[in-house]
Symmetry: C2
Subunit: 430 residues, 2 copies
């Protein structure tokens, strides 16, 4: 049987075009594979990560040494670090992906048309997925596992600070994939440490089916604005907690503190508190104390500041900039609003459209807020921190899309697929 991987040569191609071309060929081979073949490769990847842990940890040590020399902060070095324990945890994640259902082949719609034609819309892989990401080398393995499970070839463009780690990890993964009979080119590192390789990826329309940038806001903005390859925008979160006129004050304080302070550095943490004026006097003094206890600085509007006097609050006057800032720190913007509609208008104007929560005892308010707010996730009487593929029960997450096309909110395996229609007749013509 002729292999689809052997159609044409790599002459005159740049290094990035070569990996993309190889990935396309691998993707063609992956697409029709049954789940068992993909799961076998995933389990082989997990085993190989464990067996070759020392090789990975040694390569990682080179990155850490370079980072130390460059005066990198200990927080970033911690994110970069791979220990034998962390490698075991990464391998466990890969086994977990193997245990998830295969999205490919799922029949999304199907019917028999009036003329007797059978119509089916079936999930298929996207093809070649490019991931552009920053420091954490665990993303290398996560992304490779999720793409392989969904039948996609992946092009990994990690940061230069993790180059040695990523090179070792991809070597281990490719050996495992190839060893289990699948094309090793399904998992490839994009060569080159400079920004040029990112630019080349962004121009590779027709070779790369989608780019998913994961990381800082500036990286994401660059890719969104410059790429002619379709992009899925991820992870910018200016999330709001709105405390309605009719509310359970205890619940509102708990949800606020959890949304803001349980893990402030992530995209589903709250960045702005909006309080209905009718509940401000009852809620704000308690909320400001609780925020102070959690070590949070409040950037308040004039009406919030009015309630700060008798509290422990560290409070600074809010400027317009505060409404649009994703702090990712122990800071929160806060304003008093006249109505639920004012809260919605504020959110529509300033939110990044990630997650907004309402705390209310009113069914009508919950319903109206849910209808009017146009974000990936609207939480009613629950923390913003639940917007997460793991929490949603997807078993895995490749990122949180904050765009409206293709995928919105936490992206699991189905979001890494497209569909095709299969039309079956017996000689049907029009």
């Amino acid at each position: 049987m002729t292999s689809l991987s052997s159609v044409s040569p790599y002459d005159n191609m740049s290094p990035v075009a070569q990996v993309a071309y190889r990935a396309r060929a691998a993707a063609a081979d992956l697409a029709p594979l049954p789940r068992s073949a993909k799961d076998d490769a995933l389990l082989a990847m997990a085993d190989a990560l464990e067996v070759r842990t020392s090789e990975i940890v040694e390569a990682n040590a080179e990155d850490i040494a370079r980072a130390r020399e460059a005066g990198t902060s200990e927080t970033v070095i911690d994110r970069l670090t791979l220990t034998p324990e962390r490698v075991r945890a990464i391998a466990a994640d890969v086994r977990h992906v193997a245990a998830l259902p295969d999205p490919v082949g799922e029949v999304v719609r199907g019917s028999t048309l009036p003329n007797g034609i059978d119509l089916r819309q079936v999930r298929v892989p996207l093809g070649v997925v490019g991931i552009i990401y920053e420091a954490r080398p665990n993303v290398t393995v996560d992304a490779a596992a999720l793409c392989l499970k969904s039948g996609n070839a992946v092009l990994l463009r990690g940061s230069s600070s993790a180059y040695s780690s990523n090179t070792a990890l991809v070597r281990v993964l490719r050996d495992a994939v190839g060893g289990s009979g699948l094309p090793a080119d399904a998992v490839q590192l994009v060569p080159g440490e400079s920004r040029d390789s990112v630019r080349e990826l962004m121009r590779a329309r027709g070779m790369v089916d989608v780019l998913i940038p994961r990381g800082g806001a500036s990286l994401i903005r660059t890719v969104v604005e410059e790429s002619i390859v379709p992009v899925i925008e991820t992870g910018t979160g200016n999330c709001h907690v709105y405390v309605d006129a009719e509310t359970d004050i205890d619940m509102a304080v708990e949800i606020l503190i959890n949304s803001k302070a349980q893990r402030p550095s992530v995209c589903n943490a709250a960045e702005t508190l909006l309080v209905h004026e009718d509940v401000a006097a009852a809620f704000l003094p308690r909320a400001l104390d609780a925020l102070a206890d959690a070590g949070v600085t409040v950037h308040g509007d004039e009406r919030v500041i009015e309630y700060a006097d008798a509290t422990k609050a560290t409070i600074v006057p809010a400027t317009t900039e505060d409404w649009e800032t994703e702090y990712l720190s122990y800071d929160i913007a806060a304003a008093v609003v006249e109505s639920l509609e004012s809260a919605v208008a504020h959110i529509r104007l300033w939110s990044s459209g990630h997650t907004e929560a309402i705390v209310t005892t009113s069914q009508a308010a919950a319903r109206r807020f849910t209808q009017l707010v146009d974000s990936t996730t609207v939480a009613v009487n629950a923390s913003t921190r639940f917007t997460d593929g793991g929490q949603f029960g997807f078993g895995a997450e490749i990122g949180i899309s904050t765009q409206k096309l293709h995928a919105r909110g936490p992206m699991g395996l189905p979001e890494l697929t497209s569909t095709k229609y299969i039309v079956t007749g017996d000689g049907h013509t029009r």
Copy 2:
């Protein structure tokens, strides 16, 4: 109740930014509307088109006069022309859209999470949809109706050749929308007849949620490459008919002729014939005669030409260019291939990924072709001409997407929506 449409002024905005800004406000008002409110507006639109037909036909006469003066071909003038009958047919289409189910509010996924949170993924409008299209003024009404039904505001950027017609149509539609209590700004014509307004639309990221170019290949390519607003690519069709080794010759000839010649000017017409070498001697002489009878010129490879002698075929030698050409005329490229896999490799290399058909009696071949071909639609023993929203039973079609993200194949109302997650707890925190 405060209206969300009255948040800020239009100072210092360009004309295109102003319509986009107004559309955003209208979209916010449309999103929570129940089906009945939208259907009432659609029926009012249909009635108004009929009542004000003469106003529309008179405006259309201006466009036609200008086109005649400019020496436009009669085919294009015919596409541009609105008669009272055609306006009635357009109004009937709008009533048909009103009768379709509302995609907004459909629960796509839903479950109760282990912690008791209720999770629902619900269809919501995209927001503001920009349509960039060429001559036919019926698209103006179609697009407005489909967008309104799916809760979206629409920005219509038609061709300058239809400017008077589109202006009259949009005036009639806006009056009807406003008269039924919905925001008239849900339907707007993009001002300006020059390319500048298209360029401005393409830069309006954050104001416009998606651009859908409909029309010629050059328009679509420009929008795909230059837009930073997300784009849905539509309508390029280099479709293939593959006649397998094991085949019903009569059926293969019928499907070939229907795919190529029933309506050659549309994107789902076949442009290339691939024939398995084992069936070439039995199939090609009959196929070449049938193509000749249908007035089709064959651009054949050497092995096809071998079979032309005893036939009526008009045949010219194929060049590489023929494999990638979307003729949209009575022309077809033709090649003999060694195997099903060679046919698939040819399709992967040259197809635009629209529709490919196989004619075969072999269940194994049908299955393998269906698995390996990566196009929006794979037809087994059926004409390529079935790839169509109407034929698929969608009741309407805004275009045929040939990209993999968001929508693939004929796009109906659900493809004009995004989703959001609704998380409902009773004080849940992490």
